[in-house]
């Protein structure tokens, strides 16, 4: 069938004609030619769309898989805090200082900023309180020019914000009767460009243009400080027209991992600690929900079948400093052996990693992984055995759950409510849960954020739930649009989409897809690299004769089993591995083009792999230990941390290997380690990366066909 053959005949005919005389092609021929080109082009575009989709799948899978580690990290923090005192026997508990400050959080901190002098040479904005429009305009202008606000003003701003927030209830009630329309924005994640674009398109916050920002202002993006300062400034300026909901990233433990802490410490070397301390207080004081006209509920994550708005209104929200600090349990309820086993099982079985939105609906597990709160004395494998008094007052578990559910839950397609095991907190809530809650409180719509959506927004549960996400290009340039919602008195939401573009020239879809795809594939390859030994074991099980090859199906099976990422492996194969002439996969080729950053002779490949996998976590822990942010920690501290970490994770690392490592990194033999250098060794380098974009494009294209 098909136009193919007939065109061939006709164009062949045409060629003959051409030799004789130039004639304009007849209409039938023109039509056939057009159809051919259209077919070809449409197919090309469809393939591009396919690539865009699987690129999206990769990013989402990896992101969700990464958040699973959150659970692990936070249980480690609890563990450390509860057990690890006096590292070197002299100083105060370093960890608890940061994780659970002894200072009364309500202590008036006015003193902390009024004593800070702002030098004459400082050319940034000088704020005067109470703030006026000229202050917020000055901030906007300054941030557009890449300036940094002086620490003194940051602290003062935070102090004033804290005072204001203390007066606010947990749930804010708004009305559309006094305003034209309310604008609702989702996650910003430190993307200043997106915030500025929204202000540009929609107008600055004012009495005529009220806003609700639905959490996750910080982390991941590079301008979290600027974003959150602007939001707080407008909050102070227009407290009746600017409303901020807390997100799961307004949480100091999340900040440690996802970049906000680092950003603050980098921008504010002298006063960073104090600033972070105040942020901690302010974040925990943010309201957790907003209701418009008693009909539209806005929360960051979602709800659970236990969510009760009346109860939620009554609790002391500031007590939940972090969702990741599990409520304490009484000693009788604890059994250290069981906790250890639980923690190990958590890591090893790991049955709770549905990675894409498709498969979480398929694999709902109900493991009670969160019951890992530990509090004990006398750990046998610690060097210093000390008894630890319970550090902080017990949090009411129900109150904690109300808040965590509202900040961490995700909607799902099936009915029912199940624990959100891979986020480590909150629930998956089905349409029946939504329906019940809306009915119970006389509501008609739930607006939430928390999940990135390609179009910036998405409806589900028959239109009763809207997800709104405002950070465009979240994964990579071109990965998704951002959006915001406007509602007026008739309470019908209208959506506005946008996409920030870094280049002035409009990128073609091809270029955008290529860029996003490249980035996704690199992230994916790093995953492969980080699990190299497990993967090799898996491959070798199918390759008993050591041929170095397995079939494509077997290759896909191993990847799926080890990485637990629900991705179209066959489709991705050409980018990841080479085929032998007989069509089987040469599995070693998966790891060929990657290597460690700076080679350290003492580092065996196993150690390298482990360190690479836990690189982020290790970095965070070092940052905590390095109180004065000098970049150096003592060898002793290094060793202790390492031993604890590996014991906690059940990773068998030879003590002597670590000692060797520590000694070799101590380059100037003064007993301290520059851990930034140490970590550099475990950054993965993609050997085929090249500065020349065309070269790397060509190379990635031709890679393994």
């Amino acid at each position: 069938m098909g136009c193919g053959t007939s065109v061939a005949t006709e164009t062949q005919g045409k060629r003959v004609e051409r030799d004789e005389a130039v004639q304009t092609p007849g209409p039938a021929l023109t039509m056939k030619a057009a159809v051919l080109i259209q077919r070809w082009y449409r197919r090309y575009m469809a393939r591009l769309e396919m690539r865009r989709r699987y690129t999206w799948n990769i990013f989402q899978s990896i992101e969700y898989a990464g958040e699973q580690d959150q659970l692990q990290l936070s249980s480690f923090f609890s563990f450390m805090l509860d057990n690890f005192t006096q590292l070197n026997g002299n100083g105060p508990d370093l960890i608890s200082q940061l994780l659970d400050p002894v200072v009364d959080p309500w202590l008036d901190r006015e003193i902390c900023y009024s004593l800070i002098l702002v030098p004459e040479s400082y050319s940034g904005p000088r704020l005067s309180f109470p703030l006026s429009v000229s202050d917020t305009n000055a901030l906007l202008a300054a941030f557009k020019e890449q300036q940094t606000l002086h620490a003194r003003y940051v602290l003062q701003l935070l102090y004033e914000t804290k005072k204001l927030l203390k007066q606010m209830p947990n749930i804010i009630h708004l009305s559309t009767s006094y305003t034209k329309e309310i604008t609702i924005c989702g996650d910003l994640h430190g993307r200043l460009d997106d915030l500025l674009l929204i202000f540009y398109k929609n107008g600055l916050p004012s009495a005529e243009t009220p806003y609700v920002f639905n959490g996750d202002f910080v982390d991941r993006g590079k301008k979290s400080v600027e974003v959150v300062i602007l939001l707080f400034a407008y909050l102070l300026l227009y407290p009746d027209n600017m409303h901020l909901n807390r997100g799961n990233h307004e949480d100091y433990i999340m900040n440690l991992r996802y970049g906000f802490t680092k950003e603050v410490m980098q921008k504010y070397k002298t006063h960073g600690q104090e600033i972070l301390q105040l942020f901690q207080d302010v974040f925990s004081l943010l309201p957790v929900a907003t209701v418009i006209d008693g009909k539209i509920l806005i929360v960051h994550g979602g709800i659970s079948d236990q969510t009760n708005l009346d109860f939620l209104s009554s609790i002391e929200r500031h007590k939940v400093k972090s969702a990741l600090r599990f409520p304490k349990r009484s000693l009788e309820q604890l059994d250290i052996g069981q906790s250890c086993r639980l923690t190990k099982r958590l890591r090893l079985t790991d049955g709770s990693r549905p990675s894409s939105s498709r498969s979480h609906s398929k694999n709902q597990r109900t493991q009670n992984q969160r019951r890992c709160g530990l509090s004990r004395q006398d750990m046998p494998f610690l060097d210093s055995l000390t008894s630890v008094p319970l550090p902080s007052p017990p949090q009411n578990e129900q109150e904690w759950k109300q808040i965590v559910d509202v900040l961490w839950s995700d909607p799902k397609i099936q009915e029912g409510c199940s624990p959100n095991t891979f986020r480590g907190g909150g629930c998956y809530f089905g349409p029946d849960v939504t329906q019940r809650l809306l009915l119970q409180h006389g509501l008609q719509l739930l607006i939430r954020s928390h999940e990135c959506k390609q179009e910036g927004y998405e409806l589900c549960h028959g239109g009763q739930v809207i997800t709104i996400f405002s950070a465009s290009n979240y994964y990579e340039e071109g990965s998704n649009r951002g959006a915001y919602i406007k509602v007026g008195r008739e309470l019908v939401p209208r959506f506005y989409q946008y996409q920030v573009s870094r280049t002035t020239r409009k990128l073609t879809l091809t270029q955008r897809v290529r860029a996003a795809e490249g980035s996704a594939l690199r992230a994916l390859k790093e995953k492969l690299f980080a699990h190299r030994s497990e993967l090799m074991c898996g491959f070798q099980e199918y390759d008993q004769n050591y041929t170095g090859r397995v079939s494509v199906s077997e290759w896909a099976l191993v990847l799926e089993a080890v990485l637990r990422l629900d991705l179209p492996w066959r489709t991705l194969r050409p980018h990841l591995a080479r085929l032998a002439p007989d069509g089987s996969v040469e599995y070693q080729s998966c790891f060929e083009d990657m290597g460690p950053g700076i080679p350290l002779p003492q580092v065996t490949s196993n150690l390298a792999e482990t360190l690479f996998r836990y690189r982020t976590d290790i970095e965070i822990i070092f940052n905590i230990i390095d109180k004065d942010h000098s970049g150096l920690i003592s060898i002793e501290e290094f060793r202790h941390t390492w031993r604890l970490f590996s014991a906690h994770l059940g990773v068998a690392i030879d003590d002597s290997a670590i000692d060797d490592l520590a000694r070799s990194i101590d380059f100037n033999k003064d007993g301290s380690i520059d851990f930034t250098e140490f970590l550099e060794a475990f950054r993965v380098v993609h050997k085929l990366d090249s500065k020349d974009p065309h070269l790397s494009e060509k190379m990635s294209r031709k890679k393994y066909s």
Binding site: M1, C3, I37, Q38, R39, R42, M45, A46, R570
Partner: protein, 163 residues
């Protein structure tokens, strides 16, 4: 895409099924083994086929669930398997494509003006929508001269890795 020639017909069939399912699942947003009928073209193209719009209409008529706007995997899988095993919508050879462009390039310039291409693509054959046309021009036009050097374009777009 060369699978082993030594594979039995059974393994080959099972691999074909897996490919089809993987492509299908990418668009199965509700995780219930159905896709919107409007995505079928994309899915078929991504499996390496080059149907025309007319071909697509015929295919959809076969597999759609009574004009519901949805296509179920149960009907898609056998129909698509047949298409793949019989090589029903074969790719367009490069030289054929070149000739097609040359037909449109009546003055033999070696390139097409955007207005020319627009006229053909939106008025002839199976016309493009305005959106499709805009994307094509942005994607294919040479940035400086703002014309479409079709020989280069054919080569450029052909190197894309096959999925």
């Amino acid at each position: 895409m060369a699978e082993s020639n030594n594979q039995s017909a059974e393994t080959k069939l099972s691999d074909v099924h897996k490919r089809i399912k993987a492509a299908f699942e990418t668009f199965d947003n509700a995780a219930n083994n159905t896709v919107d009928v409007r995505e079928i073209g994309t899915i078929i193209y991504s499996l390496g086929c080059f149907p025309s719009q007319a071909d697509l209409h015929d295919f959809i008529a076969e597999v759609e669930e009574d004009h519901s706007g949805y296509i179920h995997l149960d009907r898609f899988l056998p129909a698509m398997t047949k298409v793949l095993l019989e090589h029903k919508f074969p790719p367009i050879p490069k030289d054929l494509l070149l000739q097609a462009f040359e037909v449109l390039d009546k003055d033999n310039k070696g390139y097409l003006e955007p207005e020319e291409l627009t006229k053909y693509m939106t008025q002839e054959g199976e016309p493009f929508t305005q959106e499709e046309m805009e994307e094509m021009l942005t994607g294919l036009a040479d940035h400086e001269r703002n014309v479409i050097y079709y020989k280069d374009v054919i080569n450029q777009l052909a190197i894309d890795p096959d999925m």
